[in-house]
C-alpha cells in the first residue's frame, strides 16, 4: 500500500472496524489525512454504522432465566459423571464398534462350532434318550405317552391276526399302536468308502436292506453317500447305535406316525369288499338270468377284485412300514483343507473369471433394461401426476424464500 494512490475502499472500512494490523492501520490513517475522497468514504461508513447503532432491541424477558438455569443445573449434575462428558458421536461410534465386534464374536463362535462338529474327537451325543422318546404326531401319540418300540414277531402276529380274522364279525384291532418310524442321521466320517462298506454290513447284520443308495464323488469336493435303509423296528436302536459309531453325528432326528386307525379302517374295508365279492360269487353260481345280468355281476366282481387287490397291497405296505423302520443316512466326508492348489491353470481361471464377469455385466444391463421397461411407464405417469403439484410448490417455496 502506498499513500500516493487511493487505497482499496475495503481497507478504509477495515480500518474503521479495527481489522487492520498496526502497520497497515498507520498507512491507511496517513492516507486518509491526505486524501479527501477516502476521508469522505470513511465518513460515510461511520455514518452508516451510526445509523444502524440507533436500532436498539428491548431487554430479554426474565422468564427465560429460570428454565435455562434449571436445565443447566441438571446438565451440570449429569456432567459431573465422567462418562457423560463423552460426545454423543463418540458414544454412537463406540456402540457401532461394539455391535460389529459382537457380530464378529458370534460368527467366530458359530464357525468354531462348525469346525468342532467336523473334528473326530467329538463325542457322539447320547442316543438313548432320543430312542426312548420318539417324536410322534399329535394326533397319534402325545409327547408324554410312552410308546414302546414294536416287536417284530408280535407285530407280525397281530397284523396277520387282523388280516386273517376277516371272516369274523369284529373289526380286528391291534393290541398296541402301530407306529411307522422314520429316522434321519447325518454322520461325518473320515473315509466315505469304508463307511459305506461298514454301513452295508450293519444293515445285513440287522436283517435289513438298503432301499436306495446314492454316492456322490465330485472331483474337488467332499464325497458323500445318501442311503435309505430299512431295518426291523426291533433292531432300530442297535442299528442306529452302530451307524453312529461310523463317525460323528452332526444331525439326528426321529419321527413316528401312528397308523393303527388307518390300518383298522383298511382291514374293515377289505373285509366288507371280500364279503360283497363272496355274495356276488354266490349269485353267479346259484342263480340264472339273462346274459346282460350275468355280465353285470361279473363286472362287479372284477371291480371288487381290483379294489381288494389294491387294498391288500396298501395294507401290506402299511404293515411293512411298521415292521421295517426307515433310516435315512447321510454320510459325508470329513473336511480336509486341500494342500494342492486348484487343478485349473491360471489362464483358465482368468478366462473363466472374464467370462463370468462379462455374463454378470450383460445380465446387470439387461436387468436394468427390463426394470425400465417394466416400471418405466408407471413411473412416468406418477411423475406427471406428482410433478405438476411439486413444481407449483417449488415455485411457491422459491418465492417465499426470496422474501425471507
Amino acid at each position: 500500500m502506498t499513500t500516493n494512490l487511493c487505497v482499496a475502499p475495503e481497507d478504509v472500512m477495515a480500518l474503521l472496524d479495527g481489522e487492520l494490523s498496526a502497520t497497515d492501520a498507520h498507512v491507511i490513517e496517513a492516507h486518509l489525512a491526505e486524501c479527501g475522497q477516502c476521508a469522505l468514504l470513511a465518513k460515510q461508513l461511520r455514518g452508516t454504522s451510526t445509523l444502524l447503532s440507533q436500532w436498539s432491541v428491548p431487554s430479554a424477558a426474565e422468564t427465560m432465566d429460570s428454565l435455562i438455569k434449571s436445565r443447566a443445573q441438571e446438565r451440570g449434575l449429569r456432567l459431573q459423571k465422567r462418562w457423560m462428558r463423552i460426545p454423543p458421536a463418540r458414544l454412537s461410534l463406540a456402540g457401532a464398534l461394539t455391535a460389529v465386534l459382537a457380530g464378529i464374536v458370534v460368527v467366530a463362535i458359530s464357525l468354531t462350532g462348525y469346525q468342532r462338529a467336523r473334528m473326530v474327537s467329538f463325542e457322539p451325543p447320547s442316543r438313548d434318550v432320543a430312542m426312548e422318546s420318539p417324536t410322534l404326531p399329535e394326533q397319534a401319540v402325545t409327547k408324554t405317552r410312552r410308546v414302546s418300540p414294536p416287536n417284530l414277531a408280535s407285530m407280525l402276529t397281530s397284523v396277520s391276526n387282523g388280516v386273517m380274522d376277516s371272516a369274523g364279525s369284529d373289526i380286528p384291532r391291534s393290541p398296541m399302536p402301530m407306529v411307522a418310524r422314520v429316522m434321519s442321521m447325518t454322520v461325518v466320517v473320515k473315509d466315505v468308502d469304508s463307511a459305506r462298506t461298514a454301513l452295508d454290513s450293519i444293515v445285513a447284520r440287522h436283517h435289513g436292506y438298503s432301499a436306495q443308495e446314492s454316492v456322490s464323488t465330485p472331483k474337488y469336493e467332499l464325497h458323500s453317500v445318501q442311503a435309505s435303509l430299512r431295518v426291523p423296528a426291533s433292531e432300530l436302536t442297535s442299528a442306529a447305535a452302530e451307524i453312529a459309531k461310523l463317525g460323528q453325528i452332526v444331525n439326528e432326528s426321529q419321527t413316528g406316525e401312528e397308523v393303527s386307525q388307518m390300518h383298522a379302517d383298511l382291514v374293515a374295508r377289505l373285509k366288507t369288499a371280500r364279503e360283497t365279492e363272496a355274495r356276488f360269487q354266490a349269485i353267479l353260481h346259484q342263480r340264472t338270468g339273462k346274459v346282460s345280468e350275468v355280465l353285470e355281476v361279473e363286472q362287479n366282481i372284477a371291480r371288487l377284485r381290483r379294489d381288494i387287490e389294491g387294498m391288500e397291497a396298501e395294507q401290506k405296505g402299511l404293515e411293512h412300514r411298521v415292521v421295517f423302520t426307515t433310516i435315512d443316512v447321510n454320510l459325508s466326508q470329513e473336511y480336509k483343507a486341500p494342500l494342492q492348489p486348484q487343478a485349473d491353470s491360471s489362464s483358465t481361471q482368468l478366462h473363466n473369471a472374464f467370462v463370468e464377469g462379462y455374463r454378470n455385466v450383460t445380465g446387470l444391463l439387461f436387468g436394468i433394461v427390463l426394470l425400465i421397461v417394466a416400471f418405466g411407464p408407471s413411473l412416468l405417469v406418477c411423475l406427471v401426476i406428482l410433478g405438476v403439484p411439486a413444481f407449483l410448490l417449488w415455485r411457491r417455496y422459491q418465492k417465499i424464500r426470496s422474501r425471507v
Binding site: 475502499p9 475495503e10 472500512m13 477495515a14 472496524d17 481489522e19 460515510q44 461508513l45 455514518g47 452508516t48 454504522s49 445509523l51 444502524l52 447503532s53 440507533q54 436500532w55 432491541v57 428491548p58 431487554s59 430479554a60 424477558a61 422468564t63 427465560m64 432465566d65 428454565l67 435455562i68 438455569k69 436445565r71 443447566a72 443445573q73 446438565r75 451440570g76 449434575l77 449429569r78 456432567l79 459431573q80 459423571k81 457423560m84 462428558r85 463423552i86 460426545p87 454423543p88 458421536a89 410448490l393 411457491r396 417455496y397 417465499i400 424464500r401 426470496s402 425471507v404
Partner: protein
C-alpha cells in the same frame, strides 16, 4: 469475582466438567446478545425469545461436543444460526400451504426508524445482510464471520463493504424513490 474475569472458553470448559455456575455466567453474558440476534431477524419479540431459549438449550445439550478449537462466541452463534435456519424452514413450509400472509404485529408497532432499517436491510441479499448484521450488532470479527458463514475472509470483507454502501444509499435516498434492487440470492451457508 474471579469467574467474571474468566474467558468464555474457560467457562464453557468448566461447564463441560459439570460446573453449572460457569454456565450461569455465560448465560448472563450472552442472554441479551442472543436475544438481540433473533429480535433483529424476526420481528416478533416472543418468537425471538423462544428461539434464544432454544439456542441456550441446544448449547446445554451439546456441551459434550464443544471443542475449544473455535471461540465460544463463534460456537454459540453457529448454534443460533442453526436454530434460525430451522425456524425459517418451518416458517417457509407453513407459508407454502397457507393462503394468508403471516402478519407481524410488532412490525406495525415498531418505531419508524426500525421499520425503515428493517425495510432497507430486507432489500439486501441474504448473505450480505447476515454479514452486515453480524458485524454491526453481534460485533463479530471478520475471521469469526468467515468461519461462521464458511466464506473466505476477503469475500466477507468485500461483501460487507458492498452491503454497507448499498444500505447507505438506500437510507439516504427518499423513501418514495426506493426501488427494489435486483439482488442475487446467494447459495452460501447463511
Amino acid at each position: 469475582m474471579h469467574e467474571m474475569a474468566d474467558s468464555d472458553e474457560r467457562l464453557m470448559n468448566a461447564f463441560s466438567q459439570g460446573n453449572a455456575e460457569a454456565f450461569n455466567e455465560l448465560f448472563r453474558r450472552y442472554q441479551q446478545p442472543i436475544f438481540g440476534f433473533f429480535k433483529r431477524r424476526i420481528a416478533e419479540a416472543t418468537q425471538a425469545e423462544e428461539l434464544a431459549q432454544d439456542t441456550f438449550l441446544a448449547l446445554i445439550r451439546s456441551t459434550a461436543n464443544y471443542r475449544p478449537s473455535a471461540t465460544f462466541r463463534t460456537y454459540l452463534y453457529a448454534i443460533a444460526f442453526n436454530v434460525l435456519r430451522a425456524y425459517r424452514r418451518k416458517a417457509m413450509f407453513r407459508s407454502m400451504f397457507s393462503s394468508t400472509k403471516e402478519e407481524e404485529p410488532s412490525v406495525r408497532n415498531s418505531l419508524a426508524e426500525e421499520i425503515v432499517l428493517r425495510d432497507a436491510l430486507n432489500r439486501l441479499g441474504r448473505v450480505d445482510r447476515e454479514i452486515l448484521l453480524l458485524r454491526e450488532f453481534e460485533q463479530l470479527s471478520y475471521a469469526e464471520i468467515s468461519e461462521l458463514a464458511q466464506l473466505p475472509l476477503n469475500t466477507v470483507r468485500s461483501r460487507l463493504f458492498r452491503a454497507r454502501m448499498a444500505l447507505r444509499e438506500m437510507l439516504s435516498a427518499p423513501a418514495a424513490s426506493r426501488e427494489q434492487k435486483d439482488l442475487v440470492e446467494s447459495k452460501e451457508r447463511i
